[in-house]
Every structure is written in C-alpha cells, then in structure tokens.
Symmetry: C2
Subunit: 147 residues, 2 copies
DNA sequence: ATACTAAACTGGAATCATTCCACAATGAGG
DNA sequence: CCTCATTGTGGAATGATTCCAGTTTAGTAT
C-alpha cells in the first residue's frame, strides 16, 4: 500500500509551490492518523482542531480539494454520505460495507489496462477508481438490514 | 450490453409487486430514450414531463431510488454533479470525460473475481462499479482545461 | 362495475454537504 | 522585517436530495 508519509506530503507541497501553514500540517496529521478510516471532511475538521489553534471547516474543504487536485490524496464520492479521502494512491479496490459503512482497501491483482481502453475505446484514462459494495467479514453473518 | 427493454422493466415492476403508474411509465421511457447519456434526475424529470400529464420532481427522485434498489437500473454518484442513472447492468467500466462530461461504457474483459475478494479479504461483494476519468476521443487533442 | 386500501404522488419546506465571498491573517522571498 | 500573494475565516448561498402531511390512484376484493 503506497501511502505517503508526513515528510513526503510536505515535500510535495513545497514542490507545487504551496505554502506550509499550521492548518495544512494539522490536516495532514489528521489524514495520516486516520488513514485506515478513509476519513471525511467532518472527521478531519474535528481532528485538525485538536492540533491547530485555528482551523475552519471552509479551510478543511479547500485544503482537501487542493490536496486532491495536486495528487497528495484521492477523493472518494459516495451517495448520501460526505466525501471521503484516501491516502492510498496505488491501484486498489474500495470495499464498502453496506451494513457498518467501513471502507477497506483491497490491492488489485490485475489492474485495468489503460492501453486496452485507449486502443479500443479511444479514451485516455488519467485516474480510476473501483468501488465494491457488499458485506465485510464482521457484518456478513449478522441479521438485520440497519446501516 | 445488457440493457432491459420497456417490457422487461414493466415485468420486473409487477414481479416486485410495484404498481404500474403513468409516472413510472413516463420515467421508464425517459430512461430508455436517453440510455446512452446516463441521464440525471433533472433530465429525466424534464423528459418525463413531456410524456405524463403530472409528474413531480419528488416522484422522479423516489422512483429512481426505487428502481435502483430493485435492480432495474444502477445509480452512479459523482462529485459536484447530480447522480446519473445507468440501464446497463452488466459488468462494465464508466469512462467519464473530464472535459465534456460525457460518460461512455466500456465492457470489461476480465471482471473482478468476487471469489478472490471473498477468500482474501473476507468481503462479500454484492455490487461493484468501476469509474475511469480521463479524456474521450473527441476531447483528448483539445487544448484548454474547461469542463 | 364499485368500493376500498395500501401504495404512489404532490409540492413546498427542510436538510446537509459543499462552495462562495469579502475581508483578515500570514508565510516566505527580497 | 517588509511586502503581498496566498491562505484562512465564518457566515451566507447553493443545489441536489429527502421529508412530510395531505391527496390521488392502481389493483384487488366485493
């Protein structure tokens, strides 16, 4: 799982000419400490608040957007749920549990062949995302349908 | 491309014990006539209005949700765009053009192996979706970055 | 056919994640 | 340590979607 560390992310900010601010550092730390949870903006906002003296929700949104556009993290969109952010930038599958909502990653053994897609559909792929819905190990045996 | 026709969709409604109403028929027709566009709720609402005397936006939303939950169509979620609906229920890739926003389908040669995922990750897949972003044939040569 | 009832429909209000805006604060190069 | 473009702020605006209380209607039973 290729997940960038604190130093790498900071280096990437410098590289892109983006400033290192206390808010951005707090957001980076919040992302790293919750990387397995695929956190959303609200969670990151709450965590970042504990680290930096001043962070606003607007800033969290702007920063996560900035980070996504610059390839530091990946933004995941879901129905009727806030967006979530994934520090794992390698080709992988997001397994989304319908019952508990947890999202786990599964490394893809045979990634999609961008060459095939380009050749056959004339479409140049710059980014891809695979999402599978179903039931995780803990939920698969459980009765009921609650989220 | 496995796309259900009018009769099949109506049959599926009966099968599930859902009523056949003028609104639902209008929505089915709107879906079928725009199947390649992967239409959103607004487009379906406008098209359905031309066919049925009375349809409300609330009904369109409720109906599309109902259809998705009953496996008649598939709901696609995107960032900063309304949801779109896809009548193609087979395993395929949604190719989303970053410039013109068009969504085309690409049939998947080697589908994800649900057996592998279950064995290795303990996760039971009930539904999956693959989204690739990039540039379609018409947009790949174009300059500029407008949407 | 006619009546009945649960399922559908309506439209306007409510929700909620996200974005926008005008102004204030600040990082980093000179 | 000055300067100013970049970043941050918070409150208002947006826009897709859902909710709700009341009305209509499809389909079954009479």
């Amino acid at each position: 799982m290729k997940t960038a560390g604190r130093q790498e992310l900071i280096a990437k900010l410098r590289e892109k000419g983006l400033k290192i601010t206390s808010q951005r550092l707090a957001i980076i730390d919040a992302l790293l400490e919750n990387r397995l949870a695929h956190p959303g903006a609200t969670l990151i906002f709450n965590e970042a608040r504990k680290k930096a003296d001043r962070v606003s929700l607007s800033t969290v949104y702007a920063t996560l957007k900035e980070f996504s556009e610059n390839g530091l993290i990946r933004q995941l969109e879901f129905d009727r749920m806030e967006n979530r952010y994934d520090g794992n930038l390698s080709d992988h599958v997001n397994l989304v549990c319908k019952r508990c909502g947890r999202i786990q990653d599964w490394d893809l053994p045979a990634p999609l062949d961008a060459g095939d897609i380009r050749r056959e559909a004339g479409f140049v792929v710059t980014d891809s995302r695979i999402e599978c819905h179903g039931y995780c190990r803990d939920c698969v045996g459980e009765p009921g349908e609650s989220v």
